[in-house]
């Protein structure tokens, strides 16, 4: 295996790798703008210039040494770019060296000549690679006295991307992304020199399913999201790691929250699930549902009207309804949109407390949603979780498909629905109008909450801890990003700055604090009405119960899931190796 020396440190690497890759694998950092591990090498930013040399050899093939016995290295007179120079055995590379630092400063000076002083109005400020490098690799002053070049601002490339030509540093990351990852080759450079800009081909729109990823990889604020534009400064938000609920791919995401409201969803690197990307649907579609039209406290139906009640009252009322029916008359509906913990608690409740085996979940299959990259045809983020812990009926007669028929012929009289609103077809809701009693856990107001007898306010995945299992059977952990009355005391430093320090009379803390609970918690309280003790105090207790009782989960724990960025079912003893994730640029915690 070849080895190279970076600043005198010996590094083992593989042949064919470039210097920047070899350095990155070993935790060393070469400043760069245009290089990205998933994209082809363009080599046009010139920020990663390093000094490269090979040891001198004597005519007999031995290394030449100086009087102290050190190997004499003959460095190339000109600096080389680390992203396009392949390693050679015995190569010496200098990064933190006077000549290299001077070159970096010169490159930064060139970048900043025509870069506008837009930081106060630029959304990228605070997570900008150019801003960061201006501190770390620049001289901090400009010698440019002439007027800056002005170009067009606010050019829409497509429905989800806005381009600001002035801020662009021509790194070509977006062009390469469009060509190589999104396979929509419509972007290209036009003009030359300081007039260079990027244009979408005439008549075309940059509107593929993954267009918004260019906003993330853009090292400056040239590409911004019209959806997020000017909503908040990044340093005012909290970013918590979670899993996308858009489809069963299980893209790792970061949820940006301010004032208990989700403002932005962006991908989090996980090389085993989504790499660096996620689709626009995941970013834009469902976070508005989490922010608005929520069930904020438990209600029961009194004289045909939903009335807010305390948790104790709602739970004991639900228990009294459950007692009225025989086990075979109760149908439980789990949810592929709810965590594995919630579904497991429901299975345990159905089997041990209600003694019913009529349990199923609602499948959301949409072939038109799938593409050959990340998006899958299964719109439930946790179908695999439902199947692996046994959310399935004991006989075909009691499957969800036959529910309308079972209600009609009177074999099912009580339906217990968890976190499900049957949004894709109406026939279930029509059928449910004829049941004797409905108990639901619901996150949002829907047609179902109007007809239910008991509505438990349910936490979204963004408000609770738990796991989703994706299409590749990868168990992935997510943490809460929003506060509820339930998790308020545990969120602490995970809250955004304003949420943390607000007082009751500050207008900026007048957020909606929802009195909702994760389903496993409600179910364990409900079980205690039937003298069954689940012993669940936190989501981790439920997961440990699963890991203990379900074979494929054996050996898993939240600690391991966090460490390995998810573990495939049945592989807890042999998980995928931990990878040092590349982050181009990101918001540093304040």
């Amino acid at each position: 295996m070849p080895h190279i020396y970076i600043d005198g440190k010996r590094i083992e690497t593989q042949s064919g790798k470039t210097i920047i890759e070899a350095a990155y694998d070993n935790g060393l950092y070469v400043p760069h703008f245009c290089w990205h591990p998933e994209l082809s090498v363009a080599g046009n930013c010139r920020m990663c210039l390093v000094e490269v040399g090979l040891p001198k050899r004597l005519p007999n093939g031995e290394f030449e040494t100086d009087s102290n016995g050190n190997i004499v290295v003959s460095y190339m007179p000109k600096l080389q770019i680390a992203c396009a120079t392949q390693v050679a055995d015995g190569m010496h590379v200098r990064i933190n060296y006077d000549k290299v630092i001077k070159a970096q400063e010169a490159v930064m000076e060139f970048f900043l000549i025509n870069h506008p002083l837009d930081c106060p109005i630029c959304d990228e400020a605070g997570q900008c690679k150019l801003q960061e490098y201006a501190f770390n690799h620049s001289r901090g002053e400009s010698r440019f006295e002439e007027t800056k070049n002005h170009k067009d601002k606010r050019i829409p490339w497509g429905p989800n991307v806005l381009f600001d030509a002035e801020r662009c540093i021509s790194c070509s990351r977006c062009i390469r992304f469009a060509k190589e990852i999104a396979h929509q080759d419509v972007l290209s450079f036009v003009q030359r020199g300081d007039h260079v800009t990027i244009k979408v081909q005439d008549g075309a729109k940059f509107d593929n399913n993954y267009s918004m990823n260019v906003i993330d990889i853009c090292p400056v604020g040239a590409l911004t999201s019209p959806d997020f534009r000017f909503k908040s400064r990044v340093w005012d938000m909290s970013f918590n790691e979670s899993i996308c609920m858009g489809c069963s791919r299980g893209c790792n995401i970061q949820i940006g929250v301010r004032n208990n409201e989700i403002l932005r969803i962006e991908p989090k690197t996980n090389m085993y699930a989504n790499k660096y990307w996620m689709c626009d649907y995941g970013r834009l579609s469902y976070y508005k549902k989490i922010n608005g039209n929520r069930v904020i406290s438990p209600t029961i139906k009194k004289n045909g009207v939903q009335t807010e009640v305390s948790w104790e009252e709602a739970i004991s009322y639900a228990a009294s309804i459950l007692r009225k029916y025989k086990p075979s008359e109760i149908m439980f509906v789990g949810s592929g949109r709810s965590s594995t913990e919630n579904n497991y608690a429901l299975v345990r409740f159905a089997k041990n407390v209600a003694k019913s085996t009529n349990i199923d979940y609602y499948e959301r299959i949409d072939q038109s949603f799938a593409d050959n990259f990340l998006r899958t045809n299964d719109l439930n983020p946790n179908s695999a979780g439902c199947r692996s812990i046994g959310v399935m009926p004991s006989s075909e007669k009691y499957s969800l498909k036959n529910l309308p028929e079972n209600i009609k012929n009177g074999s099912v009289k009580l339906v217990y629905i968890m976190d499900e609103d049957f949004d894709l077809d109406d026939k279930y809701i029509q059928a449910l109008r004829n049941t004797e009693a409905i108990i639901i856990h619901s996150t949002n107001h829907s047609k179902l909450t109007e007809i239910a007898d008991v509505v438990f306010a349910s936490s979204y995945f963004a408000e609770s801890e738990g796991t989703f299992i994706n299409i590749d059977k990868r168990v992935q952990y997510f943490e809460p990003a929003l506060i509820t009355t339930e998790n308020l005391h545990r969120m602490g430093m995970k809250m955004s700055r304003l949420d943390k320090f607000g007082a009751h009379n500050d207008r900026w803390t007048q957020k909606e604090l929802r009195n909702c609970r994760p389903t496993w918690k409600v179910l364990s309280l409900l079980a205690s009405h039937f003298s069954v003790n689940f012993n669940y105090n936190k989501a981790e207790d439920v997961f440990n119960d699963i890991a203990h009782n379900v074979g494929s989960f054996n050996g898993m724990s939240y600690r391991l899931l966090k460490k390995h960025q998810g573990i495939v079912l049945g592989k807890a003893n042999n998980p995928d190796p931990v990878i040092h994730n590349y982050e181009s640029h990101y918001m540093k915690p304040n």
């Binding site: 930081c119 106060p120 109005i121 400020a125 601002k153 606010r154 534009r229 000017f230 909503k231 400064r233 340093w235 005012d236 304003l498 320090f501 607000g502 009379n505 500050d506 207008r507 900026w508």
Partner: protein, 166 residues
Amino acid sequence: MNINTENIEKNRMTFWEKIYLPEIARGLGLTLKRMFRQKMTRQYPEERWEPLGSYRGRPVLVEEGGKERCVACGLCSRVCPALAIEVQAAETPDDKERFPAKFEINMLRCIYCGFCEEVCPEEAIVMSKDYELVFASQESAIMNKEQLLVPIAQLQDRLEFLRRYK
């Protein structure tokens, strides 16, 4: 116990001090003397003090051409040690792209440190000479953008001071 009583004996009043009347006469004499000297007090509500440009009074937004200079970058809000400032940006069709849809300073939180003014990249928030801040309720102490906007002509002293010393 060995207590030193020497100092206590020294501070004992004399006979003339104890009878008190000569001291009253001396005090009135002092008052009489001061009555004919120059007056140092100010008749406050009628007679107001005009602070210098260096005075840090109520923070205000600079209004230029009927509009605020502020672009809602949020740096004042970030640097404010008392979390008094709340800014919500929004988009405008103007050249500067961004403006504060909401700009509120909670004057009960403000500690008049002047960091907001120091950090402002647009010279849009400055400390004014306004020192008369009385509120009847907590709500009225939260000043909105309209209350904060002050025409630039009234802030020349402070802007001059900032240009010279900032």
